[in-house]
Structures are given as structure tokens and as C-alpha cells.
């Protein structure tokens, strides 16, 4: 068993407060290399990734993304190429895209954590505005952004759950009870 991987999964947190310290491009490349290995349905490759380190573009993306609480040093936007999906004749394309986006997101969050960087996903953003800022063609839409930076010490503004969550509280052994 690789206990390091389990520990990595259990200690990852959404980082909502980041420092102004820059991150190295090579670190961003390592995260992007990791996401190349994320599982995708049918090995279809209809996701594209936009990697941004330019402070001006990051600022513009923040302005149209109310869910982006943090001030990241880099943003990787997971985009879906809908023409490619149509070519593949994948049934339930929305669902297939969402599953792949989620897998890509978690892969990048864990890769960032492994590099001792902080990260946080953002889904509350204005898709039209982000598409224009990133100069995306009409057939490519931004689906999720991953913010990356160095975690600031102190409160990370967690969203408190209504009640304590354990793995047992999420699981039914065998067939689901009523």
C-alpha cells in the first residue's frame, strides 16, 4: 500500500487564502503533466486546459468569478471541446464531460498538494466572460477553474458542514437502506 497517497488525499484542503509568493512555471507544468494521467471516459480527450500565470489575466478572471475568493498565482481552466464530443457521438455528453472534469480537477488538486502548493476549485464564474477573456472559440467552454498558489497561514474560511461527516455516514454496506 502506498500510504503517502492516502495521506495526501486525506490532508488536502481547499485553500481560499493564498500569499503573494509566486509559483514556479515548472511546478505548474508538473501539475499539467499529472492531469494528463487523469482517468477519462473511453480515453476520449475532449478536455482542454488553459494555464494562466499573467497577473493581468488572473485579475480579469477574478473580476468575473464571484466564487474565486482566493488571489491565486496561477489558474488552470478546464475546458470542454464540444465539437470533439459530438464527433465521438458520446451519449449523455453533459454527464460524460462532468465526470472527466471532476477527475481532472481532483488530479490537479492532489498534484498541487504533493508539490506543497495550495489549490482550490472554482465553478461559480461567468462562463461567457471567462470564454472571452481566455479567447476560447465558440465550441470550447470553460467548465471549472483550479486556483493555485501558496497557502497563507491561518483561517482558510472553510464552509462548515451542518453535521460532522465521517466515511461511515456516507456509506451503506450492500443494498441501500430506505
Amino acid at each position: 500500500m502506498n500510504s503517502d497517497a492516502i495521506e495526501l488525499i486525506k490532508t488536502r484542503r481547499v485553500i481560499r487564502v493564498m500569499t503573494d509568493d509566486p509559483i514556479e512555471r515548472v511546478q505548474l507544468e508538473q501539475i499539467l503533466e499529472a492531469v494528463r494521467w487523469a482517468p477519462v471516459g473511453g480515453n476520449h480527450r475532449f478536455l482542454r486546459f488553459s494555464a494562466i500565470q499573467d497577473p493581468t489575466i488572473i485579475n480579469l478572471l477574478r473580476m468575473v468569478s464571484p466564487g474565486m475568493i482566493q488571489r491565486p498565482q496561477a489558474i488552470i481552466t478546464i475546458c470542454a471541446n464540444w465539437d470533439k464530443l459530438a464527433e465521438l457521438k458520446v451519449k449523455g455528453t453533459d454527464r460524460a464531460a462532468s465526470i472527466d472534469v471532476g477527475a481532472a480537477m481532483q488530479t490537479m488538486l492532489l498534484a498541487a498538494h504533493a508539490l506543497e502548493l495550495g489549490s482550490g476549485p472554482v465553478t461559480s464564474f461567468n462562463k461567457v466572460a471567462v470564454g472571452i477573456i481566455l479567447n476560447l472559440p465558440d465550441n470550447v467552454t470553460p467548465e471549472l477553474m483550479v486556483c493555485i498558489g501558496h497557502p497563507a497561514p491561518g483561517n482558510q474560511m472553510p464552509m462548515a458542514p451542518k453535521k460532522k461527516i465521517t466515511w461511515q455516514s456516507l456509506v451503506d454496506w450492500g443494498r441501500l437502506a430506505n
Binding site: 473580476m63 468575473v64 464571484p66 461559480s124 464564474f125 474560511m157 464552509m159 462548515a160
Partner: protein, 112 residues
């Protein structure tokens, strides 16, 4: 609310753009987001405005910022708990109303 008529807490054009764009683009985002995120977005907008003018306001307004900041922070944490979130927003409403009454020079009466 500056009584002397002097307004030292002006916004730069970049700050105006940031707030203006935030409101307009967030309006669209909120159609897809959970309803209770709406109040949270307004809190963030209030924080943006506060941060833009920090240190350039009257002492009274600065105190309002300081009094409300911890409550806003608490509200963000309990946003998924309607009862607690509502209580924090009511607390904020009380503080800002008391601020308005005070800086307007209005009298208050204790109701038995």
C-alpha cells in the same frame, strides 16, 4: 454620511470597474448557483468596497468596518446553515442600522 461634506473615501476607476463588473457578471452566475449564495455574494461585494476604502474613511465608518468584519467572516463559514447564516445577517443588519441612527444624530428610546 460624512457630516463635514468632505469625501475622502473615493474609489479609483479600476476599483469602480471591479465592483461594476462583479455585480453584472455575478447576476448571471447566480441563476445557476444555489439561491443562498446570493446573500454571500453581496457580502463579498461589501468586503470589496470596504477593502477599497480602508484607512481613508471617517473614524465612525472605520469602526463600522471593524465591528462588522468578524461577523461577515463568521457568516461565510455558516453559509450552508440557513438558521445560523440568517442570525449572522440579522446581527449585521442590527449593527449597520445602529450605525445609521448614530451618525444621523437620531435619538433612540428604550422600549419596555
Amino acid at each position: 454620511m460624512a457630516k463635514d461634506g468632505k469625501d475622502c473615501a473615493t474609489l479609483s476607476e479600476n476599483q469602480i470597474v471591479e465592483l461594476f463588473v462583479y455585480f453584472l457578471t455575478t447576476a448571471r452566475v447566480q441563476i445557476d448557483d444555489p439561491n443562498h449564495y446570493g446573500p454571500m455574494r453581496l457580502l463579498f461585494a461589501a468586503e470589496k468596497l470596504r477593502d477599497f476604502v480602508a484607512g481613508r474613511t471617517s473614524p465612525a465608518l472605520q469602526k463600522l468596518f471593524e465591528d462588522t468584519e468578524p461577523i461577515i467572516n463568521s457568516a461565510h463559514i455558516v453559509v450552508n446553515d440557513t438558521e445560523k447564516f440568517t442570525a449572522e445577517l440579522d446581527h449585521l443588519s442590527t449593527i449597520v442600522a445602529e450605525y445609521l441612527v448614530k451618525v444621523s444624530g437620531l435619538s433612540t428610546t428604550d422600549h419596555e
